[in-house]
Symmetry: C2
Subunit: 133 residues, 2 copies
């Protein structure tokens, strides 16, 4: 029951982009250095974020990543879901009882957490901590 390092990297790169360049493009290398992770591995995570619409990419010289136009709406939950997938954290139900209580309690609790993560926008953090990285 731990968030993966990939999620950690994703959150940090998003914050990095929000702080340093809402408009300019940034390549993998500088971010990989900051996070102390290999560029190739971080690249995979960034590709996942692109597919989820969290960032935009362009190849070639002068290319790199940048935030999309709606970046101020992006929440922690969006980023986490982009990496971890939207699946439920608990799926121990054998379905021998429709509307079971164990499953419902767990889902409800997870819902509370997601509610909070949905309200936390990456743009808020960029304002409050402009030099966090």
């Amino acid at each position: 029951m731990k968030y993966s390092k990939a999620t950690n990297y994703a959150l940090h790169t998003m914050l990095y982009l929000a702080v340093t360049s809402p408009k300019q493009r940034v390549g993998v290398q500088p971010m990989a250095e900051k996070l102390e992770v290999s560029p190739t591995y971080l690249s995979k995570i960034l590709t996942q974020l692109v597919k989820a619409g969290m960032i935009e990419s362009s190849p070639g010289a002068g290319g790199g990543y940048k935030l999309p136009s709606n970046w101020e709406e992006i929440s922690f939950l969006d980023i986490i879901h982009a990496i971890e997938g939207p699946v439920s954290m608990f799926d121990g139900c054998l379905n021998h009882n429709p509307g079971c209580l164990i499953q419902r309690v767990m889902d409800d609790a997870e819902g509370k957490m997601e509610e909070e993560l949905k309200q936390q926008k990456i743009s808020d953090l960029a304002e409050k901590a402009p030099s966090v990285l």
Copy 2:
């Protein structure tokens, strides 16, 4: 980012005990059959629960497990912590900034979930769904 099967088993055995025998002792075998898991593996999980004070055990003939006297106070969170440990789900902080915001947001969100899990008692489920297993 998924709860382990062990946590699933733990929750189910606790509910089993709460429903079938708040006072009588139950061995591993019947529970292992219900959950379709090997008795030896379930045994380890039960031992963890014993050490955490979630259940009480006695060896020998006629032995087995039973709930402690304060069983009505036991919450989902207690059981989950007994298995998963009390550690934070997110620890991606390199500590290069005291009171960082990413870590705080994640911890706050986790706190919301735990708050909910703390309020959900296993005894409530036993009342509401007496024949769930």
